[in-house]
């Protein structure tokens, strides 16, 4: 039985800054990392492997240098890494991305039965949380998003029981396998690769599938297969207000002025 973990290589958006003059992104020196949510998906996959004896395959769609990210996944304990890379896949929105990922999972499933697909909640560059549901819908798997705990997996009955975290409540949900689960960061804490594994991962090979192998209609993948188009990109407009008083020398005075201003503007009344 196979677990498939989907990962994405992303720029570390916490390190991206906007040039205040030109309003463009400063990407100089911004490293590429595994999407942080996906590291928790991989960790959860590894825990399921240890507990239930699954094999675990990691898949990613992206440019050829995504191999670095996949090797890190091998170092952590994944059994197999698969890179889905083709020019035709570039510029994909979530609809076109789930097309490629679900086809890859379907093909993996022809060799070995897929029990669970584990995804991160969302990526830090796109932040859509749409690819997981896209995969589940295309494959007809049970869809379980915002999972913060796996309660149990019953391979005989083909059932999984998870806890989902929603606004102001949690839900315990039982679903039939195969299932796609999208996990939140709180589901687990990460492990770090041990040295022998890291060395082994250096020599490991990732499998590459391009569209010659995948055989998808080019109108359903990449830019052509995307239903959304980006019309424009701009930097957010912000207007800064006023600095009140001298809070360092005279915090009391500054506080008094602030409260006066708030009362004046009717933002607050005593």
């Amino acid at each position: 039985m196979l677990i498939v973990t989907c990962v994405k290589q992303v720029p570390d958006t916490t390190q991206v800054r906007v040039d205040p003059v030109t309003g463009t992104l400063i990407r100089e020196g911004v490293p590429f990392i595994i999407n942080p949510y996906d590291t928790h998906a991989l960790e959860e996959g590894l825990r399921l492997k240890e507990k239930y004896g699954f094999r675990i395959a990691v898949i990613s769609m992206g440019p050829p240098n995504t191999e670095i990210t996949l090797k890190k996944a091998i170092a952590l304990g994944a059994d197999e890494a698969l890179l889905l890379s083709d020019r035709a896949f570039g510029g994909a929105d979530t609809l076109a991305t789930s097309q490629v990922l679900s086809e890859a999972i379907r093909r993996l499933g022809q060799k070995e039965e897929v029990a669970i697909v584990v995804c991160g909640r969302q990526t830090i560059d796109g932040d859509t949380a749409q690819v997981g549901p896209g995969i589940a819908t295309r494959l007809g798997y049970s869809q379980l998003t915002l999972v913060d705990r796996i309660e149990s997996v019953d391979l005989k009955a083909k059932k999984i029981r998870v806890r989902r975290r929603l606004e102001g409540r949690h839900e315990i949900v039982e679903a039939t396998l195969p299932a796609m689960i999208a996990v939140v960061k709180e589901i687990n804490s990460l492990r770090y690769p041990i040295v022998p594994m890291r060395l082994m991962a250096e020599d490991s090979k990732t499998t590459l599938w391009d569209n010659k192998i995948m055989g998808l209609d080019e109108n359903t993948v990449g830019l052509k297969g995307s239903a959304t188009q980006v019309r424009k990109i701009f930097s957010p407009q912000r207007t800064s207000g006023e600095i009140i008083g001298d809070g360092i020398k005279d915090p009391e005075e500054a506080s008094r002025l602030l409260i006066e201003r708030l009362i004046e503007k009717r933002a607050f009344c005593i």
């Binding site: 720029p11 958006t13 916490t14 906007v18 040039d19 030109t22 463009t24 992104l25 990407r27 240098n65 510029g91 994909a92 979530t94 560059d125 932040d127 859509t128 949380a129 749409q130 549901p133 896209g134 819908t137 049970s142 998003t145 989902r164 975290r165 929603l166 409540r169 949690h170 839900e171 315990i172 949900v173 039982e174 679903a175 039939t176 709180e186 830019l223 239903a227 959304t228 188009q229 980006v230 019309r231 424009k232 990109i233 930097s235 957010p236 912000r238 800064s240 207000g241 006023e242 001298d246 809070g247 360092i248 915090p251 009391e252 008094r256 602030l258 708030l262 503007k265 933002a267 005593i270």
Partner: protein, 433 residues
């Protein structure tokens, strides 16, 4: 025109304008018909000018306008000499799109209790419907939820599509998504909006995939362009930039919309409308998922962040969990709630459910007081919709001051107690009078 036929119009070659490319994922490369574009390590295009035929596809597709056409001086002379009038652009084939009419709002609820984002969506949806000159409709799916129809009318919907059956008692992806796909196929709305909540994002992702249509997540702005397309604006790259996204060729155009960003519609209980009752034959036995248990989170004494009118928030500058007590004091004085930045959660000073920002909650209180928060972009996207923002920080260069209505540069541990005592004094004075 005849005599110009033998002079070939120069087409130029594409060229990258340095420093603008955002490494969007090789859109230019994948749209190039001639394989003239390679991507470098930074994810920027390198154009092989020998192969480029000047078709402009990459220039048009680039979301950040980072590509331009380059002409040699000679070519520019030829162009200047040609007084050729540009042929009008052919209209995009929109077959089938026209049958889709109307703006639909999915009314989110938990066991019949509506989520406020639904009424915010009706407020925004009514503007879109008015611009387009179409109907504003609600979608109510659940078990014993007919009361939500009247509420929808009160908030501005003129029609409600209702599916009411026990199988919809708990939200489950497959039941709700089948119901929505059924209604969309039957009635064909041009726009479908849902809240960017746990439920909305779970549902919208499934619906859009099944309908093979575009979906834009977490929108913070919606508008209609001159062609009648829905302009969907959302933060991208962790909030560093904003992107405006369109779904041109498929319908419905779908968005999830951030809660607390749009203003709620005005309520008028006297409004009425039409209820369209629909039913679906879904057999519980064949459903793959079952909700076993719902555990309501203990709300305790603390006010819910999302509903608070005043929020006092602390960040890294609070230096420790014990120091949040003064923020709680200020919040109590103002009748508000305490929030925090991601730094405070990661340091273990505050629980995750108190976090404001991209990975936490989006809030829109009347007053937001940021104490010792530097104002990383991920935090700003979660609170910049607040009516009045007050920043208290020692570092006058902190980005939080760029969004603050009022700022005090100073030590949080001096300024916050000073604010508390100012309020107390004023109140005491008022009582004294």
């Amino acid at each position: 025109m005849e005599k110009e036929k033998n002079i070939k119009k120069p087409r130029g070659v594409a060229r990258l304008i340095p420093g603008i490319c955002i490494a969007c994922g090789a859109r230019c490369q994948s749209d190039c018909p001639e394989d003239a574009i390679e991507m470098n390590e930074k994810g920027e295009p390198v154009i092989n000018t020998a192969k480029c035929i000047g078709c402009r596809r990459c220039v048009k597709i680039c979301p950040s306008q980072a590509l331009e056409m380059y002409f040699t001086p000679e070519e520019r002379n030829i162009l200047a000499g040609m007084a050729a009038t540009a042929p009008g652009e052919a209209a995009v084939g929109e077959t089938g799109i026209q049958e889709y009419r109307g703006v639909w709002i999915f009314v989110e609820h938990t066991e019949g209790k509506p989520a406020t984002v639904s009424w915010e969506l009706l407020g925004e949806g009514s503007k879109l419907a008015k611009t387009l000159g179409v109907e504003l409709c609600s979608l109510v799916i659940g078990d014993h939820v007919e009361h939500l129809c009247q509420e929808s009318f009160a908030y501005g919907a003129s029609k409600v599509y209702l599916i009411d059956a026990p199988v919809f008692h708990h939200y489950r992806t497959e039941t709700y998504f089948r119901a929505i796909c059924y209604l969309v196929d039957k009635y064909k709305p041009e726009i479908l909006l849902m809240g960017a909540t746990g439920m909305g994002r779970d549902l919208a992702g499934a619906v859009a995939t099944k309908l093979k249509t575009g979906l834009t997540a977490d929108c913070t702005g919606l508008d209609i362009d001159e062609k009648g397309y829905l302009l969907q604006t959302r933060p991208a790259f962790g909030g560093n930039i904003m992107a405006t996204i369109l779904t041109e060729k498929t319908r419905p155009q779908m968005s999830t919309v951030m809660p607390h960003v749009m203003a709620r519609a005005n309520m008028d209980a006297s409004r009425t409308g039409t209820i369209v009752r629909e039913s679906m034959d879904i057999n519980e036995e064949y459903l793959p998922t079952r909700v076993i248990e719902v555990i309501e989170d203990a709300t305790g004494e603390q006010l819910d962040l999302a509903g608070a009118e005043i929020i006092v928030s602390g960040g890294r500058g609070m230096c420790g969990s014990e120091n949040f007590a003064i923020l709680q004091q200020l919040a109590d004085e103002l009748g508000g709630a305490v929030g925090c930045s991601r730094a405070a959660v990661e340091a273990g000073w505050m629980p995750a459910e108190r976090q404001v920002g991209q990975t936490g909650k989006t809030v829109r209180p009347k007053i937001y007081i940021a104490c010792g928060i530097s104002g990383a972009i991920q935090h700003l996207v979660g609170m910049q919709g607040s009516d009045v923002i007050i920043a208290i920080n020692q570092d006058k260069k902190a980005p939080i001051f760029e969004v603050a209505t009022y700022g005090i540069v100073g030590d949080v541990f001096q300024v916050v107690p000073a604010i508390i005592s100012t309020i107390r004094e004023l109140r005491a004075g008022k009582v004294g009078k």
